[in-house]
């Protein structure tokens, strides 16, 4: 399974929800965020990257700092609906995928 980058994935994880919450109050740099969690900085960097890939935060470079800002406008109702609709089509592909597996088994016994 490859990783999917959507708002659902973004908020599926409690740490990421906490990060969004913190950034919603004020922009912070990655190190400051990391200090507030009991996990490695690498783990936080990965969460930040996922949130950024999902378009929920924007990372701005200021000298050596990477300032993260929440982009909550991207969480408008519309984008949520679209993501849900996309999931509907993704599930069609899931179904195609498993049907192909089934056919291959029937035909080639593998």
């Amino acid at each position: 399974m490859r990783a999917r980058r959507d708002v659902y994935q973004a908020i599926a994880d409690p740490t990421r929800r906490a990060i969004i919450g913190m950034l919603a109050e004020q922009p912070q740099n990655v190190n400051t965020i990391a200090e507030q969690f009991d996990v490695t900085r690498q783990a936080i960097s990965l969460h930040v990257k996922i949130l950024s890939d999902c378009g929920l935060i924007f990372i701005r470079k200021e000298g050596r700092d990477h300032i993260c800002e929440a982009r909550l406008d991207s969480l408008s109702e519309v984008s949520v609906w679209v993501e849900q609709y996309k999931k509907h089509w993704e599930s069609k592909l899931d179904s195609l995928e498993s049907y192909l597996e089934q056919l291959k088994k029937e035909r080639y016994g593998k």
């Binding site: 919603a24 109050e25 969480l75 609906w81 849900q84 609709y85 179904s95």
Partner: protein
């Protein structure tokens, strides 16, 4: 990224998937009615394909039978058919154009599924009604509530 956005970016949907099957098999299950009926979802639905004339200008009619006993008619016209490579069809009511591209990658196939709607507004309407039809609203509502909570935090 901004510069790469096309003029269709706000009215299209693109999904891709690498399928663990050769392109001949993927093409077969995509183009033969008895196969399509088996996988054309959504979950809990069954499908009847009444017509599938896979040539440019050919009609494709499919009825999805919902778990609630409701039938959903789908009517499309194929616009372009390139064996083992590409299928383009115009779907009606709602109106959108789907382009499915097949790319052979050895024993695997890369599938690119592109849906182009008439306008961003029309896309949103379709998206909303589709979600409602599938009973997905609850999830979305939950998420919306969560997001509203986050926004409230920002503004306070």
């Amino acid at each position: 990224m901004e510069n790469e956005k096309s003029s269709t970016h706000d009215r299209e949907l693109i999904i891709t998937r690498k399928l663990n099957a050769p392109v001949e098999l993927v093409w077969e299950v995509w183009t033969q009615p008895e196969h399509i009926a088996k996988w054309w979802g959504p979950n809990g639905f069954t499908n009847t394909i009444t017509t599938m004339d896979l040539v440019p200008g050919g009609v494709w009619e499919l009825v999805m039978h919902g778990p609630d006993g409701k039938d959903y008619q789908n009517r499309s016209i194929f616009k372009e058919v390139v064996p083992l490579k590409k299928i383009v069809y115009q779907h009606f009511a709602p109106s959108f154009v789907t382009t499915v591209e097949f790319e052979a990658q050895g024993e695997e196939t890369f599938l690119r599924w592109h849906m182009l709607f008439e306008s961003a507004e029309q896309m949103i309407r379709i998206v909303k009604s589709n979600n409602a039809a599938e009973g997905l609203k609850q999830n979305v509502d939950k998420l919306s509530v969560y997001l509203e909570g986050r926004k409230a935090t920002t503004q306070s």
